[in-house]
């Protein structure tokens, strides 16, 4: 009995230790984002917020447009990044990529799961094979292609190549496979066309898969850094992660509170998704890791 209790206590201590390793840095990030810039590096570190400098947040969000006293300077730019622009850019990219992936992967996934067509197996293996090809390996030709199309340094250039998704197709196919085929026959008997079978029954019933796919796509592109770094060069076209790094580089070590304020803002959408969609996120990441 004693040994078991010992195990349990040791386990808890171990888990709490790692939980602190995860949580303390985040706590420090939040607390320090609310500190006077000059105190941001103060040692010993203060884990909890000491003061509440909401001005740091004001500076991240608006100093590109306004002087401290509220004078509008347009996009004349002080040493800062146009954060609201970047938030909007990131939202636009995430929104269209997510919607696009949900629809097109639903179509393709349904075809692979439920429709017979010549060359289906070969095409499916082709999709599976492309799933293992990392973006980092294909980025040079993608860049060349987009610059030929005149799509570099534009949000369209970020969105368009991200919509066709081998992984999303695979994920949606798995969900369509779970829907009993008797429903298709029932619809046929009820007088449905092939399109109606898809649109009125299979598509709505695959919503759980779409939620998983949407959460993953949104989260991935919200956080994405490599592709925007290569494709985007104008600061008003930046996405949020580019902006954070640019902000860090502007501020150097002078005023990390402001950078951290930016980080906190940038994490909000991801945290909202995390709070409401953790289950889907886990499921999606597991499917993702299982297949490349």
């Amino acid at each position: 009995m004693n040994r078991i209790n010992g195990n349990v206590i040791a386990s808890y201590l171990y888990l709490v230790f790692f939980a602190l390793i995860i949580l303390l840095p985040l706590l420090w990030v939040v607390s320090t984002s609310l500190r006077l810039p000059v105190e941001s590096y103060s040692l010993p570190p203060k884990w909890l917020p000491t003061d509440f400098m909401w001005e740091n947040y004001w500076e991240v969000l608006f100093s590109y447009y306004y002087e401290r006293d509220g004078t509008f300077v347009g996009s004349q730019a002080s040493a800062n990044v146009p954060f609201p622009h970047l938030m909007l850019n990131s939202f636009i990219v995430c929104f269209f990529v997510t919607i696009g992936q949900v629809f097109f992967c639903s179509f393709a996934g349904y075809a692979f799961a439920r429709l017979a067509f010549p060359g289906k197996t070969a095409l499916f293996w082709f999709v599976m094979a492309t799933m293992m090809i990392p973006l980092q390996v294909t980025i040079i030709p993608i860049y060349v292609l987009l610059s030929k199309l005149g799509l570099t340094d534009s949000l369209t250039g970020l969105i368009l190549p991200a919509i066709p998704s081998a992984f999303g197709t695979f994920l949606m196919r798995q969900y369509y496979l779970r829907i009993p085929s008797a429903l298709e026959e029932a619809m046929i008997m009820d007088g449905a066309s092939q399109w109606q079978v898809f649109w009125r029954v299979f598509f709505p019933l695959a919503t759980p898969g779409m939620v998983v796919l949407a959460i993953l796509a949104f989260n991935y592109h919200w956080n994405e850094f490599f592709r925007p770094l290569i494709l985007i060069s104008t600061d008003t076209t930046f996405t949020v992660p580019l902006g954070i790094v640019a902000l860090r580089d502007y501020k150097m070590t002078g005023s990390i509170s402001v950078v951290l304020a930016g980080i906190v803002i940038s994490m909000i959408p991801a945290l909202i998704i995390y709070l409401f969609g953790q289950k889907h996120l886990v499921e999606g990441i597991l499917t993702g890791s299982v297949k490349g």
């Binding site: 349990v8 040079i140 066709p164 081998a166 989260n219 850094f225 954070i244 070590t253 994490m267």
Partner: protein, 297 residues
């Protein structure tokens, strides 16, 4: 016969319509580019002037390019360290969570370990760089406090890759943790009871029962972790831009620099193809070994 045949035809037509956009997209943005990468690797090209055939000279040059060799070494070294660290931590955390009876606590720990995964590698690296700062960093402050003394986490060539491993592992521990949770859950209860009856306890039980029983998970998480880790870019790039020297320069960073800073698209593609081959080998290994190496079924 005609009625099903015509049904089949409409089905095939709809299918074509449904797969066409995604297939074209994959052709244009994945399959085409990988083929084009290979072709580019046989040419000199700086975008501005016309392409010039290079044969295998890029591949030859790669063997003599110390930076390329260093970045590949760094990448493999990084990935191996990540895999070892993540397996140990993921395994032990999943073991520990099994001892937590309260389901809310379990959910809490799971949520916490999963939290960094939803963040951007870029932003994590930004604030982690503050943490590991040699002079002002919190990590060094506590190390000095306990008498170990300050470590040049990001400024010493010996430490910087380790630091990157730590930051990367911090962010990705949730995946291995979840994989091992699944692995443990699939161990038949009888096996554990039998081990108890045989009097196996503590470390012996872990090494004779748990480790072999989750060996498929260990293998799986290792290959997957490896494949993901060799693609690392955000963390070393943001932490130190690859420095000091080339100590933190990884393969993808070198591809990026060669192609997009030096405009050597041909050589950049050569590096990309090499990285692709490494990932391909790992994937094939996983595909074949996974089928054979299963201890329980």
């Amino acid at each position: 016969m005609l009625n099903i045949a015509s049904l089949k035809k409409t089905k095939a037509r709809l299918a074509l319509l449904f797969v066409a956009p995604t297939m074209l997209g994959i052709l244009a943005f994945t399959a085409g580019p990988i083929a084009f990468s290979f072709i580019l690797s046989l040419f000199y090209w700086d975008v501005l002037s016309p392409m010039k055939f290079a044969g295998l000279s890029h591949y030859n040059y790669l063997l003599q390019d110390d930076v390329a060799v260093t970045t590949l070494k760094n990448t493999i070294y990084f990935a191996v360290m990540v895999v070892i660290l993540q397996n140990i931590i993921g395994f032990s955390l999943a073991m520990a969570v099994r001892n937590v009876a309260n389901k809310y606590f379990r959910y809490f720990f799971r949520s916490v370990f999963f939290l960094p995964l939803v963040m951007s590698g870029a932003t994590v690296s930004v604030f982690m760089a503050y943490f590991f700062n040699t002079d002002f960093g919190i990590v060094n402050y506590y190390l000095e406090l306990v008498g170990i003394g300050s470590v040049r986490w990001l400024t010493s060539t010996q430490m910087v890759l380790v630091t990157t491993v730590l930051v990367y592992a911090w962010q990705h521990i949730g995946i291995t943790f979840i994989l091992f949770l699944g692995g443990f859950a699939s161990i038949p209860e009888e096996v554990i009871v039998a081990a108890d009856i045989d009097g196996l306890t503590g470390w012996r039980k872990i090494f004779y029962i748990y480790v072999p029983m989750v060996s498929p998970t260990i293998f799986f998480s290792s290959v997957i972790g490896f494949i993901h880790a060799v693609q690392v870019f955000d963390h070393p790039y943001i932490l130190t831009r690859g420095g000091p020297g080339d100590a933190n320069r990884t393969a993808v960073m070198y591809i990026y620099e060669k192609a997009f800073q030096d405009l050597e698209f041909g050589y950049g593609s050569t590096l990309a193809i090499i990285l692709f081959l490494i990932i391909l080998i790992a994937t094939i290994l996983q595909f074949y070994v996974q089928k054979k190496w299963v201890f329980y079924e």
